[in-house]
């Protein structure tokens, strides 16, 4: 494991302080300042200031259409992949502004991985699905070992170890989603963003993905968008509540705090109404 982190270089990491072969357990945190996101002329999210603590799970909750997904896509510059979409403000990984003029979004996404709502395995074998991302990122180590380790961390290894050559599409939806998590882990990012990763899955698969979450934060910083408040309460350390007060307003970060605080004694009435299930 250590040789992987030792090889990596790039933005945000203070390499002077750490001896490079140190085992990777501490990930980098993130921070947004005045972040607003647009689709053409439409402002979807406005003025989000959030601090995402390293090696913690941060959950983003809120009613549909209030900008959670848009916000999380800004965190690894996936938002701008949509035609005419752009973001304003500042997003930092460690100390580095990922929207700085000289920062390549490709580099950003190598450091900040993403798992989507719908499982999207590539039309390749299970093995290749995991190996591909590492390979294009120039991984030179033992690929078999990396694939096995990544699948193990995504809690999928036992189910697929005998059929690594089969297509990723032969797996069930829940397995596909864990395959996508494994392929994200294989790139060894700092941060893993998950946009409702379990919303299309059955309860058993959801459980398995939640189980991996606790282990993931040992090594990575995790941000997860979820509609499921029990899920947010179970797995996260911090929770951000997004809310739109009036129709056609952009979404705002209404309240952000430790998960226990948000779910037991939130500061704002709308947050309390939402987490107690009074709307949304």
């Amino acid at each position: 494991m250590s040789e992987v982190s030792g090889e990596r270089s790039g933005i945000g990491r203070d390499q002077g302080d750490q001896p490079s072969p140190a085992p990777k357990t501490e990930a980098l945190g993130m921070k947004t300042e005045n972040l607003s996101a647009f689709y053409g002329a439409f402002k979807a999210v406005t003025d989000v200031d959030m601090e995402i603590r390293p090696n913690k799970v941060t959950a983003l909750i809120g009613p549909s259409g209030c900008g959670k997904s848009t916000f999380i896509r800004c965190l690894n510059r996936m938002h701008e992949v949509v035609p005419n979409a752009y973001a304003e403000g500042c997003v930092k990984l460690g100390d580095r502004d990922i929207y700085a003029r000289d920062t390549d979004p490709v580099t950003v996404r190598r450091r900040i991985g993403m798992v989507f709502q719908k499982p999207n395995p590539f039309s390749k074998s299970i093995y290749e699905n995991v190996a591909w991302g590492a390979r294009i990122n120039g991984y030179r180590g033992d690929m078999d070992e990396l694939v096995e380790r990544s699948l193990k961390r995504a809690a999928l290894w036992d189910e697929v170890k005998d059929k690594l050559k089969k297509s990723g599409f032969d797996l069930s939806g829940g397995q596909q989603q864990r395959l996508v998590i494994a392929r994200t882990l294989a790139v060894e990012p700092e941060v893993i963003l998950m946009d409702e990763p379990a919303s299309a899955l059955d309860p058993v698969s959801t459980q398995k993905i939640e189980d991996t979450m606790a282990e993931l934060k040992e090594r990575y910083t995790v941000v997860i968008v979820t509609h499921n408040m029990q899920q947010a309460a179970r797995i996260s350390d911090y929770t951000g509540f997004f809310y739109i007060e009036h129709m056609n307003d952009p979404g705002r970060l209404w309240e952000f705090d430790e998960t226990d605080k948000i779910f037991s004694s939130p500061n704002r009435k709308e947050t309390e109404d939402y987490v107690t299930g009074r709307f949304g």
């Binding site: 590539f122 599409f169 994200t184 790139v187």
Partner: protein, 313 residues
């Protein structure tokens, strides 16, 4: 609700039946009209195949089938005719290969550009513009090859080539099938879901890596289908080769010389004064059958390939 039911009562029951009978008749009539249209096209195809086979059998009563497939001379109109289909097939093969060598790379790269790199606005007018090329009559392409491309090549880089040659015909035929390959490939590439591209981007893949290593493999079956469609069009193309390739039936692999393709031979005979029922007349059916079998095989290969290698997404 209750009032309604009472008002309708028994008369409602009768209306129900009448309506249902009328509807039943309409549905049946529509089905019959639709089925008739489907069968017309199928029966027409069978009719054509039957005529082809019938006349071909007549031809092989007089000419040995072994000679047909092995002889290396084609002299159908001469006093002592020889029928070596290889000669015409080589002409078809040569022009088709040149055409595909032009159309596949250009068409595929154009498709990748349109789908992955062009802005939506550019794609909206560029793709229809490209497809207009497919609507140009092939006789225009033929004279374009003969009166523009050939003189151009002779004056610049290939002074040794004959006026009627396989190269110009093949090149222009390639231009003709670029829209087919580009348009069908573009449809296949564009149909690859956005989520697959985003998955690649999220791993830190560049646009090029995403396009060539995720999107293209996922669209491969459609691209192969497009290519085979292009080959079929090149094999069956008539006017360009009839006008520009020379109609000289010789066995050659030199693209600078004149060749005669199977289609060009059929045009030559069919537009001449060959008497119906003569051996030369029957020859065109034998050649037509060969052509038919070739395109049929191509279509089957395409069908099998598309089914076998279709990548789900």
């Amino acid at each position: 609700m209750a009032v309604n039911a009472e008002q309708r009562g028994p008369s409602g029951e009768g209306m129900w039946q009448r309506e249902s009978r009328a509807r039943h008749f309409r549905e049946r009539a529509i089905k019959i009209v639709l089925a008739a249209c489907a069968y017309v096209s199928v029966l027409t195809t069978f009719g054509i195949v039957f005529v082809l086979l019938f006349e071909t059998v007549n031809f092989f009563r007089e000419v040995s089938i072994v000679e047909f497939f092995t002889s290396t001379t084609w002299s159908a109109a001469f006093a002592n005719p020889q029928f070596g289909i290889l000669v015409l097939a080589s002409g078809t093969l040569l022009t088709t290969l040149i055409a595909i060598a032009v159309a596949l790379p250009v068409g595929l790269l154009a498709a990748i550009f349109l789908s992955e790199y062009a802005s939506p606005g550019l794609r909206r007018w560029l793709k229809p513009a490209l497809e207009i090329l497919a609507g140009v009559p092939t006789i225009v392409y033929g004279y374009f090859a003969l009166t523009f491309v050939t003189p151009l090549l002779r004056e610049t880089i290939l002074p040794s080539m004959t006026i009627f040659n396989a190269l110009s015909a093949g090149l222009v035929m390639g231009v003709m099938i670029i829209p087919t390959i580009a348009s069908v490939s573009e449809d296949a590439i564009h149909a690859v879901p956005r989520s697959l591209r985003e998955g690649a981007y999220a791993l830190g893949a560049t646009k090029r890596e995403t396009a060539t290593r995720i999107v293209l493999p996922a669209a491969l079956s459609g691209i192969v289908a497009a290519t085979i469609l292009g080959i079929s069009r090149a094999v069956g193309e008539t006017m360009i080769v009839a006008v520009a390739a020379g109609n000289l039936a010789q066995l050659t692999a030199n693209p600078l010389e004149s060749v005669q393709t199977m289609t060009a031979f059929i045009v030559q005979v069919a537009s001449g004064d060959t008497p119906t029922g003569s051996l030369t007349y029957n020859t065109i059916f034998a050649v037509g059958s060969t052509l038919f079998v070739m395109t049929l095989i191509l279509n089957i290969v395409s069908y099998v390939f598309v089914r076998r290698f279709r990548e789900a997404y």
